[in-house]
Structures are given as C-alpha cells and as structure tokens.
Point group: C2
Chain length 247, copies 2
DNA sequence: TTCGCAAAGTGTATATTTGACACAAAGCAT
DNA sequence: ATGCTTTGTGTCAAATATACACTTTGCGAA
C-alpha cells in the first residue's frame, strides 16, 4: 500500500441493479437512458440509487427495483461491491456528474445486484430516477456508464453459474410456460445448444415442472403442453441433497 | 420502503477478512482478540480495517492481510457487502465501539473477503490492528463481534462451493503435500467422507498434481509420496472447458 | 529379530448418467 | 389435400460414479 493517503474513506454508497428479462428469444437488460449533456450523448446506465440512512443494502435494491418497475417480491441477489477509485473517471461520466451532482468528485461505492423478472409484468416507462428506460438485448450492450459494464458482466456470469445449480430460471418465465421455452432459456443463458430430448428427460425426471391440462392454442403447428414450476418439489429435492442440474 | 428517513447514507467502509488455514486435520480461522472493556470480555473478531481514500476494495483487503500476517500474494476473494443498519447494535459491540471510536454510532458498511493461506507461513502475533491473533478451529466458533459470524458463514459456504469447481484448496496446503492430506482437506471442507480410491483416481486423472521423487520420512508407516500442484495444467484444462471436479 | 501397528497404495465390477441421433404427430395456412 | 413448422418421443454406446478389501512399507516395541 502506498501510504501517501491514509485518510479513511467516507463515501456515498449506492445500489445498482442488473434487471434481466427474457422475451422467449433472448436475454434483455433493463437500462435507463440519460439525457445528453451539452449535446454529448450519454451512455446508458444500470438503474440505481444512493442508499439511505437506516436502510438495508437489500432493501435499497428492492426499492430501486420497485420505484422503477412497480414490481415487488422479485428475485434479487447481491453480486458484490464495486469501488474502484477511478470508476467515475471517464470523460462522459465526469461531464454527467458535474451536471447533476452537488459534489461530483465524491467517491461512490456501489453494491451490485441482479434480479430476474418476467418481462410481461412490466412495460418500460419513466420513473422517479429514470426519464426513460428500455429493455436492451444483452448482446447489444457494449458500453455503459461508470463501471456498470463490469457489474453487468459479473452479474451475467453469476446468472450463468447459478442457473445450473438452482432453478432460478423460472423467474424469467411466465407462470405457465412450455418446455421449449424453458429449453431456449437455458440455451441462451448458457450460450450453447442443449439436446432437446436430453433436456426434457432431465427436467421431467426431476419433477420440478408439473404439466397442466392446457395446451397452446392458435399456433400453426402442434400445440405445446403448458407447465408450471413446482416449488415444493424443489425444496424437497434440496433436502435430499440436490445440487445441480447437470448442464 | 418506509420513507421516514431519506437522508443519503454517508458511511465508513471497511474490509473484513476471513482467513482460512488448514492444519492437516481441521479448518481454522485467524481471529483477532479484543481486550476486555470494563471487565467485560469481548468476542473475537475478523481482522479488518477501514478503507482509505483512493484505495481499492481489494487492495484494502490485501493490506489488512499483509499488515496482520506479513503475507503477500495470497488467494483472496470478495464475498460481498454487509451493511445491516443494526449490525453494530449488540451490547458488547456498543461497549467496545464507545471505548475505541470517536464516533461510535456512525454506520459502517463492510466488504467481506475470504483468503486461503498456508498456515506454516505464519505464526500468530500482535500487529498494527490486533494486540493478539489466534487460529481458531472453525467448528469452535459460535460467536463473533458485529455481523462477523454472518460473514464467516457466507465465506465458508463460498469456499465449500468453490473448491468443487476450482483447485483453490492447494492454497491451504504446503508447496509439497501428500494425496492423503489433499484428500483430508476436501473431506473437512465438504463435510463428508470421500472414498479414498475414487478421490485419488479422479485427482490423478486430471493431472493437476505432479508426483515428486521425494517421499515422507520418519513416519511410522509406509511413507507417502509427495506431490506439487501443477498450475499450467490447470490453465490448460480450463481452456478445454474443465468445469468442476465432480465431488 | 520379529511382530504389530498405522497409513499408503492399488483394481474391478456394477449402476447411473450422459450424449448422440431421427421420425411420427398435430395444427394451421394455402 | 398438401406443405410447413414445431412438438414430442426411445434406444444404444460411452463415460462416469460408486462400492468395496487386501498388500505394502516403515517404524517402534517386545
């Protein structure tokens, strides 16, 4: 440690959320758009806010999520703390900070979270801390404000990892879904093909999904059966030492 | 969110380290001992320190580790941020804070890390922020200062999980070790027996360990062969999509 | 010197899981 | 009636996981 600066840090702390959605075809991320400053177009950013006195870290993240989307009781997981002293130092971000903050040079440490939502439950719209928001395909995102790209990457890595171990993918789907939709979800998250028959065999063997009588209607091909996620069964499996899906 | 208090948080931020060691028999954690205040015995605590201006989170954790143990280049991983507003609220901790801090009620958010060290490389001794330190068996720890028990639990869970995926266990062993030692390490971390022959077969097949000519000496039984960890081989395996050990 | 002790080291047989692969069934549109 | 598109299904071979017991080596005690 270079000891030239041993003043204790006294930063602001924020919570930033990577909100993942799935449109049955690709993974999308809910980003907020910042207005141009002096004609300079600003990068999009993760929704986030400073944490308040007396507020829990998780609570702050839930609040961000709620204020932005109106959604409650959403799957939410902490990814970690991000606090590189240089994280606010790129020119665009400096411009933006000068325009909107009282103290633009103050250090901010952020706690990153990711959450999984059913896209059908929310249509992007302006909110208290975003004039506008939009679902952006994960693939198309190559630049974000501050260190948000790093947070996004860490979040997606965690999602990829965790989906192989816990059945969190269901949070991205409607209440009832087809096995093909679930299959596609796993493929786009894991970034590789999974054999259809093997995928179904595995899923059905675990009994995590329960078939409904209902089938798709109005599709120009054989209609698919609908399924729902069986959470009880999952809890039961855990007790018996269930550990991963084997993907 | 109850909106009675919407002042933005402006806390101190600290880094606390769970330092794991392995004495060839059990997992131990390096804790610091706090002096009794007014005759009240204080719980032990994780080593940690406030983060400085201009200092990276990881750097702060490395510094804590270095100042406590003199060890450098140690395996270190962030576990997450912990910041429950009530985390400093138990009576013993309040007593202690009043005795040692200028501002004992100020909120502190801490970033938890865990690190893995070879116990042979360090003998507990006083340091700049601990009058004394000691290796305590993980099993015996049932109370710690602040929310350090929570950080410890999260850290150990992460260790248990990660050891099945990456060969980080080697950080806990001497440079050269026997397969029995490695086997025992996996057993105590995972908390269950692993069949000796199957364990060896798996490890040897991966080629992650390289046998030396040297064998144990002075033991009252068949002397074991020594091995070293082969990091190159590990990196090679990763490229080929190696993913987990299968434990 | 021999005997006993303690841990090291080794192979096989069985059950389970994975991975590869192709064609019939259903519904709609033309 | 035909064609198009997606659903839904079974088998076989290969790889992996699990269960299990005896010989070897070196030391120390008798």
């Amino acid at each position: 440690m270079d000891s030239k600066n041993r003043h204790e840090l006294n930063p602001r702390v924020s919570a930033d959320c990577v909100i993942f959605g799935f449109d049955l075809n690709q993974i999308k991320v809910l980003l907020i758009e910042r207005e141009a400053i002096n004609g300079v177009e600003q990068s999009m950013a993760l929704p986030g806010d400073l944490i308040f006195e007396g507020e829990n870290l998780d609570t702050a993240a839930s609040r961000v999520l709620y204020e932005l989307t109106g959604l409650d009781e959403i799957y939410l997981e902490q990814v970690g703390a991000f606090g590189d002293p240089n994280r606010l130092n790129n020119p665009k971000d400096q411009l933006w900070l000068k325009a909107v903050r009282q103290n633009p040079t103050e250090r901010v440490i952020t706690i990153g979270f990711f959450s999984l939502v059913n896209m059908n439950n929310y249509e992007p719209q302006p909110s208290s801390f975003a004039k506008s928001a939009a679902w952006i395909p994960l693939e198309d995102i190559d630049e974000l404000a501050f260190d948000h790209m790093e947070i996004l990457k860490a979040s997606f890595a965690k999602l990829q990892h965790k989906i192989r171990i816990q059945p969190i993918g269901f949070n991205l789907l409607p209440h009832k879904f087809t096995l093909s939709q679930l299959h596609k979800l796993y493929e786009v998250i894991l970034g590789r093909e999974l054999d259809k028959r093997n995928f179904r065999r595995k899923m059905l063997k675990l009994n995590l999904v329960q078939s409904l009588e209902e089938r798709q209607a109005g599709v120009p091909h054989k209609p698919s059966q609908y399924f729902v996620f069986n959470e009880e069964k999952y809890n039961e499996l855990i007790l018996h030492g269930f550990d991963n899906f084997g993907f």
